[in-house]
Symmetry: C2
Subunit: 274 residues, 2 copies
């Protein structure tokens, strides 16, 4: 039993989908979320910059006495997890790439897995590698879908524009694809994308497995806490705190897109990373 908080790090607010998944699965755990909002998005930045930023963020969370680090940012999970583990060898860590990839490997019927993600996550190639570790014969296709992020941030997660954009990115591999070529599993490789799940489910039909890395990551965190005896004692719901590197007001304004509870600017502490 360990009452310390789970640290969750993201480049911005999208990682709140992971926070929500953790809250749903592990209500007794206290959660400390750090969004590096002053420097988002990481997706367009070099691997060197991303590693440096992730190390700074991890240091800030470790200084606040976390028991496990969840790297909710896809770019950091893909490019910096090795460096983070080397820098903090005693701290359990879970990224979002491995759990989602393993789940997709299991969920896919015929091994035709389509990964949708940001441009840089696609370029890094971490998802295909991780999926193949879980299922060696999988055929993995990646599609960079930057417009999905903008749609979610605008709250346009349904309606004709969202449908057209889904069609734009996914027609070739799902809607217009022949039976043989069609994907049978869609892996959401970006923290923003769970907001589009209902639309994707409706458009792609019931036969496509949709795997999101937020809930699979929460399950992986639960496994680690249990196996290491680090779970919080049951009782009152855990405390949720927020750190951000830029305006608490904007953080609070965007949060409702990703979590169903209220976040006010006073709940968010602004810090500097360096």
């Amino acid at each position: 039993m360990d009452p310390r908080a789970i640290g969750v790090f993201d480049s911005g607010v999208g990682g709140l989908t992971v926070l929500k998944a953790l809250r749903d699965r592990l209500p007794w755990e206290s959660l400390l979320y750090l969004g590096d909002t002053a420097r988002l998005p990481y997706g367009t930045k070099s691997a060197e910059a991303v590693s440096a930023y992730a190390l700074q963020a991890a240091r800030a969370l470790v200084a606040r006495d976390i028991k496990i680090l969840v790297v909710a940012d896809n770019t950091s999970s893909a490019q910096a997890l090795g460096r983070l583990r080397a820098a903090f060898p005693d701290l359990p860590m879970v990224g979002v790439v491995e759990p989602g990839s393993a789940a997709a490997g299991h969920a896919s019927a015929r091994g035709r897995i389509i990964v949708i993600a940001s441009e840089s996550t696609v370029a890094a190639g971490a998802y295909p590698n991780a999926v193949r570790r879980a299922r060696a014969e999988a055929r993995v296709t990646q599609i960079a879908c930057p417009l999905f992020v903008a749609l979610v941030e605008e709250g346009l997660v349904d309606g004709p524009i969202a449908e057209q954009v889904v069609r734009h990115y996914l027609a070739a591999n799902f809607l217009d694809a022949g039976e043989e070529e069609r994907g049978d599993c869609l892996l959401l490789g970006c923290t923003h994308f769970p907001a589009l799940s209902p639309l994707l489910r409706r458009m792609l039909g019931e036969r496509v497995a949709i795997v999101d890395s937020a809930s699979t990551t929460a399950r992986a965190v639960e496994d680690v806490l249990e196996s290491r005896g680090l779970a919080a004692p049951p009782g009152a719901p855990g405390v949720i705190r927020y750190l951000a590197t830029d305006s608490p007001e904007r953080f609070a304004r965007v949060a409702p897109i990703f979590v169903p509870w209220t976040v006010t600017a006073r709940d968010v502490e602004m810090i500097t990373l360096e």
Copy 2:
């Protein structure tokens, strides 16, 4: 006559539309472009952060001996130009907000001016204020259009998705508006938006004036250089150099969206701002 370069500062690559407008209008001028790509976008950051970043960028350009500073970034133009002028009182400076606003004030027939911009530019309110300085009785409506930025960066500047998004943002003030309420001038208050001009022209019709801040800013720069005797001597085309705070490769890959000439990663020098 002054052969020194014109310094152009932007938070990323969108300011290349201003660079192109300067090149078109002032071919003998050497141009030094600085994109703070490691920290883009500024639009989601606090006014304090934006001012600090803009001062660092200006310092880097001044250290490279520019004769005038063009602040191509809308957020910095709206929020930091006063601070920049105070910090460098002897350096001529032109932002993108004033020239576009003045031109819109003149171009509008009935004074119904619609400003489209990023969320933060809209929140800052600099365009309505500047338009009213040029034309006191103007009725100015602002619309935040973040999806336009994502569309341009995806190269989706035409076709059904772009049309639907234009309709989403502009139907109420143009396409579906009554004669009385309809805008008669559209001011593009974001450096990315000139890429959408042809589509906007086609959808809004010939009777709407479309004013882009890139070309109006280039005209303002020409005025300043002429009135101060700072123009470059005519002769060979000026040299164009690029500085960026993150990956030259990505800078070079995205540049063709905004300029018609070739930019290779070797043309881009990576620097650190602090």
